[in-house]
Amino acid sequence: MDNLQNLSPEQITNDLLPQKFGRRGMIWTAGLVVICCIGAVAYIKQLREGLIVTNMGDYVSWGIYISNFVFFVAVSLVGSLITAIFRLSNVPWRTPLTRIAEIIAVSNITFAALIIVVDMGRPERLLYLFSHGRLQSPILWDVIVITTYFFLSLFLLYITLIPDVRIMILAKNKLGKPFSKLYRWLASFWQGTPAQEKIRNRSITILCIVIIPVAFCIHTVTSWLFATTYRPGWDSSNFGAYFVSGAFLVGAGAVVVAMYVFRRIYKLEKYITEMHFDKMGKITVMLALLYLYFNVNEFLVPAFKMKKEEKDYLNGLFTGDFAPMFWFAILVGMIVPILVLVFKKGRRPVPMFVVGVMVVVGAWFKRYLIVTPTLLHPFLPKYDSPARFNHYFPSWEEWAITMGSMAGALLIITFFVRVFPVISIYKTLEDRHALNKQNETIEEYESAQVI
């Protein structure tokens, strides 16, 4: 924060304006496009042949697609955490993180919605969800709340972006023509008058207030998709809080990873400082402890009772087929991050990046474990079903579509940072101005003669 004082407004603007892709950026983008295309090919195959191309069956009817959906929903929650909660609680160091959090939220909620359509055997019937939907069904609540959160996140991203786009319109000599039409369409009306500024600030505050309950709702309702179904592992009144805490953790992990990557690639060390990593590290360790607490609740209590109907499911997780994945998710996704982040050295950029990756990877496997083992252990005994229904491993089409969706989410972020500043220029200049004013006041106060 303090180093902003030493930077001129021109330097801040120059540093934070979007930059053209270098060679690494082009390779990265091309790689993502290729993965997306493979996913698209697999999806076309699935459309032509039906869900038979997947390895889902009568028992595991929600496979890797729904695991991935829960993962995307979880990551998208971070937009509300960083932007809304930090803004409403007036966290002074939030500026370099908010835009990153917002675009992560938008990209992930977009693909959460898309992956649900992928999971539908007949996507052309999507509209039936609205025209024939039962309001009693949590699936309809999820559709409504995800659509709402998508628009709110997009709105929040846009409204905070307006002054920056105006700056980019003014810097057209430096940025060139490629996106000038888009910039003019988005924010040519912005003059920065006090009246405009007042409306914009009020709108952001309203958005931040509304987005928090909606964000809680998306993950709570997603958890209810499971918890309202009477099955081993899902029959829990704790599921909403368990999901929300997990979502905050994976979202924080995703922001940390993005912070590190953007800081390195765009050389933003002056803006995303070690202090930011330290603060995010403290938040992440707190969230990891919270999520671990909910995990203990979710697994220790049923394991203590070891009800007959849940025995196979729990043993499968603790010592059975799913044990390596389960302990990997617990250790890598929670315990190791806690052990690393409690130390100050662990909250420096490089270890934070590694921990962020661990949290995100662990969280993905955790979602897989929430969905699949339960479906393989129904309360009603399996009867007259083919042997392959007793196991589930995604087909190559499922893997390709899942990877394609992840690449798609990353591609949205990649294109966004190519077109728009990854850190708000306007807010950084505002922070600098506020800092200078504060220092001037301190200097005046200190130089005042006491009579």
């Binding site: 009693q136 009306f189 709108s203």
Partner: protein, 320 residues
Amino acid sequence: MKQLKNMKVHRLYKLITVLLFLSGTSVSALRAQDSVATPTILSLSYFLPVNKVPYLEIITKKKVGRKFEPVKDIPVSVYFNEAEATNLLGKITTEANGKARMGIPPSFKIAWDSLNEFTFIAQSDLPAGQEALTADITIKKAILTIDTTSEDGVRTVTAMLKEKNGNAWMPVKDIDMKLSVKRMLGNLSVGDEETYTSDSSGISSAAFTRDSIPGDQKGNIILVAQVDDNDTYGNLATEETVGWGKAIKPARNFFDQRTLWSTRFETPLWLLFTAYSIVVIVWGTIIYLTFQVIKIKRLGRLRFNKKNEKQKIIIQGTRN
């Protein structure tokens, strides 16, 4: 006296020793039997269900101890009349329950219609070195019909079995048939007997004595006639719906109430109110914010126009 007593005791000892020996040997024999597994058995059954295509059920099992255990994953080829490639009905593999089901393909219709008797041959396709399993059954083409009569308050169920002989359908006598009412968990015989035997006209009949049996909402019940596991005709079944049951009408249709599990037209009012309130509040806010952005836009254009006007006045002033 004492001698007599001794003799009795001696006999008792003998008897106990013999009994212990016999029980010991029988237990060990049973144990030995339990642990011995016999070779796999392949069997074939023919089914002609009501209003459905005839099908074959292939079963693979083996005797482990005193009971049969299913044998899964046995690939089997099934042939029609002769075990030749042209007569292959299909290939199938037995499931976890040791069973596999195969319908008669439509391509065999002409051969099927032209014959009155046919043989099905099943052969296992096990890898070389393993003993091949075979089974066959010969089935005579037959038809089973069901009818009902009601005279002087006496209701009678009749079933008739006919086999195809040349071009004519001839009645078959001395065949055991089941005449029953379809229930949720199985079939209940219409009378006191479990089976009824057909007479010289191929008819078996039974008086319907289940007068108060519950039917559907209109009082309909389904009567079933079955020939089970017959060596000549296989398994045949036919059904008829009659209004002989007691009409059951629920006091109020379960799905007509406003509950969480009813149809979408019967959503509980509290849920409708809560959900719509939330949607209206949140989307109302989004619409309000959209208008705020439009307002920002207007303010910007207004200022832009004012600037232009000022510039015009200045330019005009300098010209004057």
